[in-house]
């Protein structure tokens, strides 16, 4: 049984701060508006759907309690549509799509929606801290260090200078601005509306077009404080070849803190026929993996290989690559490791420019790749994300 992508949508990404345009919108409301958009633009009988799986990196507070189910009911979907939440940190959104696809592949369901939502302005990063960061019996012996330290470890080990990572960030901004200007995202963006039905935001609010290496040079390294507070000692315990940690990452070359949601409609061939929808791509393979947890950002290489193997494909079979820009060094290491040239990866910019609504990003960037494959008339795309504690996910799609 094949699992096809019939449609995908995303919200614009609002600044994840109290003055961000989406701050007044609850997480469930963002998700609900996207569910309504998917229904309305496809004239979909929601009774044909079996399940909605949404991921979030902070599944507590307003994002807890199986938000997917609440959103299904809030959106006015048929009450028979089930709901589930997944938590695999930043991999959650893509993993949710994979889990829908896997259920279709297995014959367990006919169709469903996978995606994610994250209001970073309304939740607190660390709400869902857990034993791995904060129970001393766990964190100490597993050499936990904050993610930014991991990004700086990569830069130190691979010899990426501050200028290297800043140049990468400038490129992300340039590509994102170019894509927005030329309307590459417009078919997938669903503006978010307020209580009165007025549009609150219709574009990615976090971007800073015109960013230069010179303007970024003014920013102070963001993670030196963590390092000097003790985590440099953790890094050296794990990587004893490091003489001194090179602190190169900051807000301008790391993924932006934003609010947003993304969703992908996946179903069997039969579902498409019954719903009168034309498949746009099929999901060929997916994979999850664990990698070294102190850096915690290097899973995408091995995870991509695993997905390629599952698909019976080689690196050369992939037309476009998309790796979430958690930090500049993450993508730079991946390109070096996998031999991916600049013109084949994150071609429309990434989270450094547009932001990374943690649990939602995976679904968003899958959609970005599909739109771009269509625009360029290419066939295959591989989407991957690194996630906290060394996790990683990858998915391969192919146009039909």
């Amino acid at each position: 049984m094949e699992a096809y992508i019939y449609d995908h949508v995303r919200t614009p990404r609002g600044k994840g701060r109290p003055d961000g345009a989406l701050h007044e919108v609850t997480s469930v409301e963002m998700a609900s508006q996207l569910l309504q958009a998917l229904r309305d633009r496809n004239d979909l009988d929601t009774a044909l759907l079996d399940d909605v799986i949404l991921g979030m990196a902070q599944p507590v507070g307003e994002q807890g309690g199986v938000l997917a189910r609440a959103a299904v009911l809030q959106a006015g979907y048929a009450q028979t549509v089930a709901g589930q939440q997944v938590h695999r940190f930043c991999a959650s959104g893509l993993d949710a799509v994979s889990l829908i696809a896997a259920q279709v592949h297995s014959g367990m369901i006919q169709a469903g929606i996978g995606g994610g939502v994250e209001s970073m302005s309304r939740t607190v990063m660390g709400y869902d801290s857990g034993a791995w960061t904060s129970d001393p019996a766990v964190a100490f012996h597993n050499y936990y260090a904050p993610q930014g330290i991991g990004a700086d470890i990569i830069a130190t080990l691979d010899g990426f200078s501050r200028e290297d990572v800043d140049s990468f960030a400038v490129e992300s901004q340039r590509k994102a601005a170019h894509a927005w200007k030329n309307g590459y995202f417009k078919n997938s963006i669903v503006p978010v509306k307020d209580i009165l039905g007025e549009v609150l935001l219709d574009h990615d609010e976090h971007m800073r077009p015109g960013t230069t290496v010179e303007s970024l040079a003014k920013l102070k390294p963001a993670f030196a404080g963590y390092g000097k507070g003790g985590f440099e000692a953790v890094a050296k315990a794990k990587y004893p070849q490091i003489e001194e940690l090179n602190y190169v990452h900051h807000g301008g070359n790391s993924s932006g803190i934003v609010d947003g949601s993304g969703m992908v409609l996946v179903g069997s061939k039969e579902f498409g026929e019954r719903a009168g929808l034309k498949p746009r791509a099929r999901i060929r393979a997916y994979a999850n993996i664990g990698s070294e947890p102190t850096i915690m950002l290097t899973a995408p290489g091995a995870c991509s290989e695993k997905a390629l193997k599952n698909a019976g494909m080689n690196r050369g079979d992939i037309d476009l690559w998309e790796l979430n820009e958690a930090f500049a060094s993450v993508v730079m290491r991946f390109q070096r490791e996998m031999g991916v040239p600049d013109d084949k990866i994150n071609v429309n910019g990434g989270a450094i420019a547009m932001g990374h609504p943690l649990g939602a990003t995976g679904a968003m960037i899958l959609g970005t790749v599909l739109d771009e494959l269509e625009r360029r008339d290419l066939q295959t795309g591989l989407i991957t994300l690194c996630a906290a504690n060394g996790l990683g996910t990858a998915s391969i799609i192919e146009r039909v």
Binding site: V60, V124, G126, Y127, S129, G130, A131, T133, S134, D135, P136, A137, A139, F140, H141, Y143, Y144, A145, P146, Y226, G229, G230, F231, A233, V234, K236, A237, P240, Q241, I242, E243, E244
Partner: protein, 726 residues
């Protein structure tokens, strides 16, 4: 009750006085616990007692746990027995707290560790206003945690953040800070202490603690759902990484607080007790306590002093050579009240040596640690001169001239022409054999080596070297002199490099050998620090200069006929030779293994990779740590076998205080016992195969291993023998 006095009064307020019979200090031990159990039961049952004032009959309130008892925990207690041991003290404290009567601790002096835990179990704490009355929970420093509710009650009292700062640093605080932190309730002058305590009791305080009231919620019941708390614990877990991964105490303390503050009070006490039991049965606590407390104190009290020699005192000291060492020796001796004649080849040189004291004193005065009057008196005791005649009447001479046999011989002859025939002549050489130097003396039985470490005023260790003809009177007088200086002596027999210089060289040469082997330099430095050394070998060589060890080794080769120990260097000389050739022999030379930019911190010289190419595959850190620890431990064993060292305590004190061998090991020989001698020999064989014969265990060590005989008696006992009482 031998340790307590219970005095009842008409007002119903009893005074319970801690006063251990025949001791100068109150400590927590089995006898004390038994007395306290008896006293608390008696007090609880006596209706005429309405409240209790707990104070001490000694100058200090209570010093803490009896370390000689605790040191026996490892290898003799099972974890369950250690837990039961901790719970006995915990229950005693709980009995105070739940006696139904208010207890007030009238803390009349220092209260540390178990002493302060006792005060914390009382309902109110009044501390005497005296700068010597330090309070705190320093257990982390000995590899333990504050049991008996110390971690639980402190965190409840002042919040977990303030508590963690005190618990993880082991910092003790004086009255003003204690009051500000809230770990005591009142600070009053000594003569008001008991009255203040009584006045508090007279207010009729409620003796039921909040955590014993039904409905009480532990402060962190919400656990990690409170982001501020989870971030704080995350940061704390990162901060303790700076203490390294060799000692388990910091993590156990952090976990005891983290878990304890989420639990009902008695469950929290139980969890704390379990962490305590883990630490008590871990060799690290045993190692630290045995060497840095028990052996150190014993050495300072004369453990190695020959019996039957009357006690002596140095009133007038001659220091020959006013260089860095001589100047330092003059400073500490004058500070100890000794008249010092500081002699050098000319008066300006001697005066420069005296100026060192003035300079060091100025820093102390600035910090408020020394008064101008006292400083002036000390300085007046130092007489700089170039005239040997002024040495007349000296009880002792410490020669600290250039490390050259001929110069030393001449100095010896000139001094002996003047000094009394009873005077001891000591050489402060760091490596020249004493017996050879003694040939220049007309009284070789009064000739001895007293090896101070640099800087003399900060390094507590003194290595005493007994020459072939040195008499026991001379040794006793030397140890009496060192006791006057309040330093820690070890006693070794004569050999090139003695003990400390000989084994220390293994540290630096192992580092250089690694470089020769193609190990990345940062890995070498990090491994040394990860093992617990204060500084990496390459950084250290930059400081001491690479010429110094080369010179010592060359000299040893030249004089090799003189001594049994050839002081050879297996690996690394080539690296040092090359660095010197490149003009990079030290920091002084403008840069060595490191570059020293005018701004910013030093960093490893980029040219190292060119000179000493790194191998493609790099060893893991554990292997490098082992190379450092094993090469020094094996050399120490050999030194012991040769009879240069006579006791394991000397070996371990010398290692920790002489050159910074990691304290968690307990020292070089304690490390062998910790690994287990059989395992040590087997692993040494492997290392010898891979890296060279310096790791090879001797036949003697092999035989010891075959017999299962460690260096300390405890290491020979089977682990976890059954206790008669639990």
């Amino acid at each position: 009750m031998q340790n307590l006095k219970l005095e009842t009064n008409a007002d119903g307020f009893a005074i319970l006085t801690l006063d251990a019979a025949g001791q100068t200090m109150n400590v927590v031990n089995d006898a004390f616990l038994a007395d306290m159990e008896e006293a608390t039961a008696k007090i609880a049952a006596d209706d005429s007692i309405k409240g209790v004032i707990l104070t001490s009959g000694k100058p200090a309130f209570m010093a803490g746990a009896d370390l000689t008892q605790l040191v026996q925990g490892f290898g003799t207690l099972t974890k369950a027995q250690a837990y039961a041991f901790s719970q006995r003290a915990t229950a005693m404290h709980r009995a105070i707290e739940q006696s139904g009567k208010p207890w007030v601790a009238a803390i009349n002096g220092l209260a540390l560790g178990g002493g302060f835990e006792l005060a914390l179990a009382c309902h109110h704490r009044v501390l005497v206003d005296n700068p010597k009355a330090l309070v705190g929970l320093p257990e982390v420093n000995v590899g333990l945690l504050p049991g008996s509710g110390g971690t639980v009650r402190l965190a409840l009292l002042v919040g977990y953040k303030k508590a963690l700062d005190l618990l993880l640093s082991g910092r003790s605080v004086g009255p003003a800070e204690a009051l500000k932190l809230g770990i005591v309730d009142e600070v009053v002058p000594a003569d008001k202490l008991i009255d203040t305590a009584r006045a508090w009791l007279a207010t009729g305080p409620d003796p039921v603690r909040p955590w014993d009231v039904k409905g009480w919620v532990p402060p962190q019941k919400k656990g990690l759902t409170v982001p501020e708390d989870s971030v704080a614990y995350m940061m704390a877990a990162g901060a303790i990484a700076q203490k390294g991964y060799n000692t388990p105490a910091p993590q156990a303390i952090l976990s005891a607080v983290f878990e304890g503050q989420q639990l009902p009070f008695d469950k929290a006490l139980s969890v704390e007790g379990k962490y305590f039991a883990k630490l008590l049965t871990d060799p690290v606590a045993r190692n630290i306590i045995r060497t840095t407390f028990i052996s150190k104190l014993a050495a300072e009290k004369g453990a190695r002093r020959p019996a039957g020699v009357p006690k002596s005192e140095v009133k007038k000291l001659g220091v020959l050579g006013a260089g860095m060492m001589g100047a330092g020796i003059a400073f500490v001796s004058a500070t100890a009240g000794i008249e010092v004649v500081l002699l050098d080849r000319d008066v300006p040189s001697a005066e420069k040596g005296k100026a060192y004291t003035a300079k060091a004193q100025a820093k102390l005065i600035e910090k408020g640690k020394l008064s101008q009057d006292k400083a002036d008196a000390v300085l007046a005791r130092i007489t700089p001169t170039d005239d040997y005649a002024l040495l007349e009447g000296c009880d002792m001479i410490v020669e600290a001239v250039f490390e050259d046999t001929a110069i030393k011989a001449e100095t010896t002859r000139k001094a002996e022409a003047v000094i009394p025939s009873t005077a001891v002549f000591a050489s402060n050489t760091s490596s020249l054999p004493i017996s050879a130097l003694a040939t220049a003396s007309k009284r070789p039985d009064q000739f001895i080596g007293i090896h101070f470490f640099s800087p003399v005023d900060r390094m507590g260790l003194v290595e005493v070297i007994v020459g072939k003809q040195t008499s026991k009177e001379t040794l006793a007088k030397s140890l009496d002199f060192i006791a006057q200086l309040r330093k820690t002596p070890i006693v070794v027999n004569d050999s090139r490099g003695f003990y400390t210089s000989r084994v220390f060289r293994m540290f630096i040469f192992e580092g250089v050998a690694m470089l020769e082997d193609g190990v990345e330099p940062a890995r070498i430095e990090n491994a040394a620090k990860a093992a617990g050394f204060p500084i990496g070998p390459l950084a250290l060589l930059d400081e001491v200069t690479m010429e110094l060890p080369v010179k010592i080794v060359d000299e040893a080769a030249r004089d090799s006929a003189d001594t049994e120990n050839k002081y050879t260097i297996e690996r690394g000389m080539k690296v040092l030779g090359r660095m010197i050739e490149l003009g990079r022999g030290s920091r002084k030379a403008g840069g060595g293994f490191y570059d020293y930019p005018a701004t910013g911190s030093k960093h490893l010289w980029a040219g190292l990779a060119q000179e000493f190419p790194v191998s493609e595959s790099q060893p893991d850190q554990e292997e490098l740590k082992k190379r450092f620890l094993y090469s020094q431990a094996n050399e120490t064993a050999q030194t012991f076998e040769e009879g240069v060292l006579e006791t394991p305590e000397d070996a371990d004190l010398g290692a920790i205080y002489g050159w910074g061998f990691p304290a968690w090991t307990g020292g070089t020989l304690s490390y062998i016992d910790t690994v287990g001698i059989a395992a040590f020999v087997a692993e040494s064989d492997r290392l010898a195969r891979l890296y060279g014969p310096r790791f090879a265990p001797s036949a003697w060590l092999r035989e010891k291993a075959a017999k299962g005989e460690g260096f300390y008696p405890a290491a020979n006992q089977p682990a976890a023998k059954e206790l008669t009482s639990a």
